[in-house]
């Protein structure tokens, strides 16, 4: 088998939404705004291809901007977990 599989940018695909890593300040601001602990956000595995692609580490918060049938575009946040 071809070990050197060509790396592809998964975000090029139409159905893969944009993922961004939140800075520490941004993350704190967000948690304060929502008045929650990070664990209360939806989770994303650190092994998730999108998380891997942006280099997210457990404990980070990922901002995902995706299309929405109701709101046009919507922003969601996910807390990166181990495993």
């Amino acid at each position: 088998m071809d070990k050197k599989r060509k790396k592809i940018d998964i975000f090029c695909h139409e159905l893969v939404p944009k993922h961004e890593l939140l800075s520490k300040e941004e993350a704190e601001k967000l948690l304060k705004k929502l008045n929650i602990y990070p664990e209360q956000l939806p989770w994303i595995k650190k092994s998730d291809p999108a998380a891997v692609a942006i280099g997210a580490k457990p404990g980070d918060i990922v901002k995902i901007i995706r299309k929405s049938p109701t709101a046009g575009e919507t922003v969601v946040y996910r807390y990166v977990i181990d495993k």
Partner: protein, 887 residues
């Protein structure tokens, strides 16, 4: 601030078997005697009602824990069985294990290498997918059962035969040899722990030999209480009866063994003991005659207590029953408000509302107490300051007790007009399946409801029953009134539009009433308006000479709120080619309301019907509030019913009769079509038919035939409708959306058309033909389920048969659909039930984890939206334009 941790989850639940030692350890006494009570009525020691097993009599203290009834949980006893017996529940498992293990050394009948291999796979599976290792055990059991010589000790194996419920044989060369439970237990005992694990039994939780019982636990008396009948005769629970049988036979068996009785007798008794233990666990085992009560009724033993609709699980654990509720048949009452429910007086006298006595209502409540529980309006109970409850049924002098009433007491008074109650119809699939109504106490025995609330409940009056619940606290009543009242539920969150609204005759009537040709005399107007509770002035009559006449539109407008502006196309709109002429529509199908005046257009389903978004009804609710909408529906409803009752609106055979010429034309068309079909078949037979791309020749033929016949049916329908005008009641109902469709009418008047099963013409039945009346391979229209007759003239027997086939499919489809969608709904509800929109707009689950940051990602409440959108620009433009027109 403590750190948030997601809540703990249940990782696993382990089930195991009780070992004989455990059974003995949890037992408080060994039960020896089959008797329950001695002659003086006291429980016999070591009997089935031994005082140590718990207490069921009030006042008595438990001999084990010292608690009284209610606090004492009950305690197990045990029976030492004279000979082991098979546990029916595990008979199949025992069979599987016997087949897979050696008769001599009890090892699994696979070589060490094979076992090692299985073990490795099992370890791997257990690590990765917990619970999936079961499948490996199944594979192992299957593989081992095929081996005929033990790879460990070399013993040759016999085939094991299992005879339901609990008999096992070995098929030796000399013939069948029965295995006794003792032998079986021996074999199971010798299975090593490692082997047990491979067989699918976790030795930590259960050993195989525990499936053969040597000790039987005796459940506490609290789960099998004896009841004393009114005559003073004590009646024992079915379980106790069964245990008595077991102990009696057990005792006899032991005595016979000890006395050295012949083997045959011992075996018979042993078999009998096995029977009693089987039926003690499950009295519905196939092949075992159920144990019966003296009266002939089958006993309800352990399994029957749990199983089925009436079992512990479905009835007691998942089932919910409540007080302060009522259920009866529903019937319609157009004179009620949509907010009301008619409650039979007999029900109103049973359901109560607790009312606290105050200085201000004390006189009123005294009256109710004096009336008592049998006269309406009265009261059933008084709760005094010390919490004592007085049942007014047993109070001889209610006057005295009424006088003793003082502020702070609670009187449970009968339901009365205006009380708020919850009304429900199953299946409760959406929010509007339970709504709050105001009570109207009425004579007779049915719940009455307004016809406009039938759609949200999906109710009709062919025998439907509904439930009613009476909220018991002030808070509950306030919530019900503010949030759940019908008028607050008119707009459905399913789609932005009203779900409560006019149906059937209301719609036919509205159409007739607002038609251009409907002119009313002053007398008629006054009568209609008085029925509709109209209080106000009459408008200027539209026609003044020779006598004043009012149009239906004028009268209808009296009930529209001032300032209402809307235009829409009615259901009767013909979708005129070349664009709508709007106000100049020749069919009067363009509804225009300006400042609450119906200028043009007929009112029909589109304007006031249920399920109609952007209708007049919808605009009234959105722009003028729920009170206005309720008033509109109540008043216009009464008026329309009165109008159509006076006018008379019927449908009969005459309504689907068409002139002779039309019938002949239809027959010609159908004949032509059938000939065309014959020609198609002919060309197919000759091989001249052109195949359509991607289809076989046969499929092509079928498609073309179906097309020809469908066209013919449509044409026949068109001819029929040419002769059925808008003066025809059936046509009015179809066109206005009140009931039925033009297709239904065409089927009644012209031609029923092709019947189908699985989307194809009917092709099942006999070999290459549908019925023996046809030649083999007949593909003609008639032979494949085309019904050329109409419902009015009737179907011939062959057509009738095909029609029944098609109809059957429809019924099966709906049955299957409801069950699958019901299951889907259940799964969805279970997954979403505790999601909630919090005050900050986020959607969170029960442990306040965020699901959505804004509800629906746009924060729009669909019930308050316009068809799902937050704003509807068209309506705003329309509103602004018509307002500027008026000024």
């Amino acid at each position: 601030m403590s750190l948030y941790r997601p809540p703990k989850k249940i990782g696993a639940i382990r089930f195991g078997l009780l070992s004989p030692e455990t059974i003995r350890k949890m037992s408080v006494t060994r039960i020896i005697t089959p008797d329950t009570y001695s002659e003086d009525g006291l429980p016999i020691d070591s009997g089935l009602m031994d005082g140590r097993l718990g207490t069921i009599e009030p006042g008595q203290r438990c001999k084990t824990c010292g608690n009284r009834i209610g606090e004492c949980p009950g305690h197990f006893g045990h029976i030492e069985l004279a000979r082991p017996v098979i546990h029916v529940g595990f008979a199949k498992v025992i069979y599987k294990i016997l087949r897979a293990t050696c008769r001599k050394c009890s090892r699994i009948l696979l070589s060490d290498e094979e076992l090692e291999d299985f073990k490795k796979r099992m370890d791997e599976y257990e690590k990765k997918w917990k619970g999936l290792s079961e499948e490996i055990s199944d594979e192992l059991l299957k593989k081992a059962s095929r081996v005929s010589k033990c790879p460990h000790c070399g013993e040759s194996q016999f085939k094991i035969k299992f005879e339901k419920p609990t008999t096992y044989y070995e098929e030796t060369k000399e013939g069948l040899r029965r295995l006794t439970p003792i032998e079986i237990r021996d074999r199971l005992e010798r299975i090593t722990d490692e082997d047990a694990r491979l067989l699918g039994i976790n030795p930590k939780d259960a050993r195989p030999e525990w499936m053969v019982l040597t000790v039987l636990p005796v459940p506490p008396v609290t789960v099998r209480p004896s009841i004393t009948l009114e005559s003073g005769v004590r009646s024992e629970d079915d379980l106790t009866h069964k245990l008595v049988d077991i102990i009696r036979i057990n005792q006899r068996l032991r005595e016979n063994i000890e006395a050295g009785a012949p083997q045959l007798i011992i075996e018979d008794l042993w078999e009998l003991l096995q029977y009693h233990v089987i039926t003690y666990f499950d009295n519905e085992v196939s092949g075992v005659p159920p144990a019966r009560h003296r009266s002939g009724r089958a006993l309800r033993t352990l399994s029957q207590r749990l199983k089925g609709k009436e079992g512990r699980f479905r009835s007691n654990l998942s089932g919910k029953r409540v007080d302060f509720s009522a259920r009866t048949v529903i019937s319609p009452d157009p004179n009620l408000s949509i907010n009301e429910v008619g409650v039979p007086i007999d029900i109103a006298k049973i359901l109560t509302i607790p009312e606290r006595v105050t200085e201000w209502n004390i006189e009123e409540l005294k009256e109710l107490v004096i009336k008592g529980p049998d006269q309406y309006p009265g009261a059933n109970y008084i709760i005094r300051l010390d919490g004592r409850r007085i049942d007014l049924r047993y109070v001889r002098d209610r006057k005295t007790i009424a006088e003793s009433l003082e502020p702070g007491f609670i009187v449970e008074r009968h339901l009365k007009d205006g009380d708020i109650v919850l009304f429900n119809r199953q299946p409760s699939l959406h929010r509007m399946s339970i709504m709050a109504h105001e009570v109207r106490v009425l004579p007779y025995r049915t719940f009455r409801l307004h016809l406009c609330v039938c759609p949200p409940y999906n109710a009709d009056f062919d025998g439907d029953e509904m439930n009613l619940h009476v909220p018991q606290s002030e808070e509950a009543r306030a919530e019900a009134r503010v949030l759940m009242r019908v008028q607050e539920q008119v707009l459905s969150p399913r789609y932005g539009g009203p779900i409560v609204g006019a149906i059937q005759d209301y719609i036919s009537s509205a159409f007739l009433f607002t038609s251009k040709n409907n002119l009313l005399t002053k007398e008629e107007v006054c009568q209609l308006l008085s029925v509709a509770d109209y209080k106000g002035d009459l408008p200027e009559p539209a026609v003044k000479e020779p006598q004043p006449l009012w149009t239906g539109k004028q009268i209808f407008s009296l009930f529209l709120p001032k300032g209402l502006n809307i235009s829409l196309r009615a259901s009767v709109c013909r979708k005129c080619p070349g664009g709508c002429l709007k106000e100049k529509c020749p069919y009067d199908a363009y509804v225009a309301v300006r400042d609450g005046q119906l200028i043009t257009g007929v009112i029909d389903e589109r304007s006031i019907g249920a399920f109609q978004p952007d209708s007049i009804l919808h605009r009234i609710i959105k722009d003028f509030g729920t009170d206005a909408a309720r008033e509109f529906l109540d008043k216009i409803g009464k008026l329309l019913i009165e109008f159509i009752s006076r006018k008379g609106f019927t449908m009969g055979l005459d309504d689907v009769e068409i002139p002779k010429v039309a019938t002949i034309r239809i027959q010609e068309i159908l004949k032509e079509a059938e000939e065309k079909v014959d020609k198609l078949i002919e060309s197919y037979r000759r091989g001249e038919l052109q195949r359509l791309p991607g289809r076989t020749l046969e499929e092509t033929l079928e498609m073309q035939i179906m097309k020809v016949l469908a066209e013919a049916r449509d044409k026949a329908g068109d001819i029929a409708s040419e002769h059925l005008g808008l003066e025809n009641h059936a046509v009015i109902m179809a066109e206005t959306g009140a009931r039925g469709s033009i297709l239904n009418l065409a089927q009644m008047a012209a031609c029923v058309g092709q019947q189908s099963v699985r989307g194809e013409r009917i092709n099942r039945g006999y070999r290459n033909r549908t019925l023996p009346h046809f030649k083999v391979g007949d593909l003609s229209a008639k032979a494949r389920g085309f019904v050329a007759s109409n419902y009015r003239t009737g179907l011939d027997p062959i057509e009738f048969f095909f029609h029944a086939m098609g109809g059957r499919e429809g019924l099966v489809d709906t049955a299957v659909r409801t069950s699958t969608s019901g299951y889907m709904q259940r799964r969805l509800v279970n997954a979403l039930q505790d999601l909630k929109v919090e005050y900050d707009g986020t959607v969170r689950d029960a442990s306040s984890r965020i699901i959505q940051i804004i509800y629906g990602e746009d924060g729009v409440d669909p019930a308050k939206s316009d068809h799902g959108k937050a704003v509807n620009i068209d309506i705003i433009i329309e509103k602004v334009l018509s307002e500027s027109e008026q000024t």
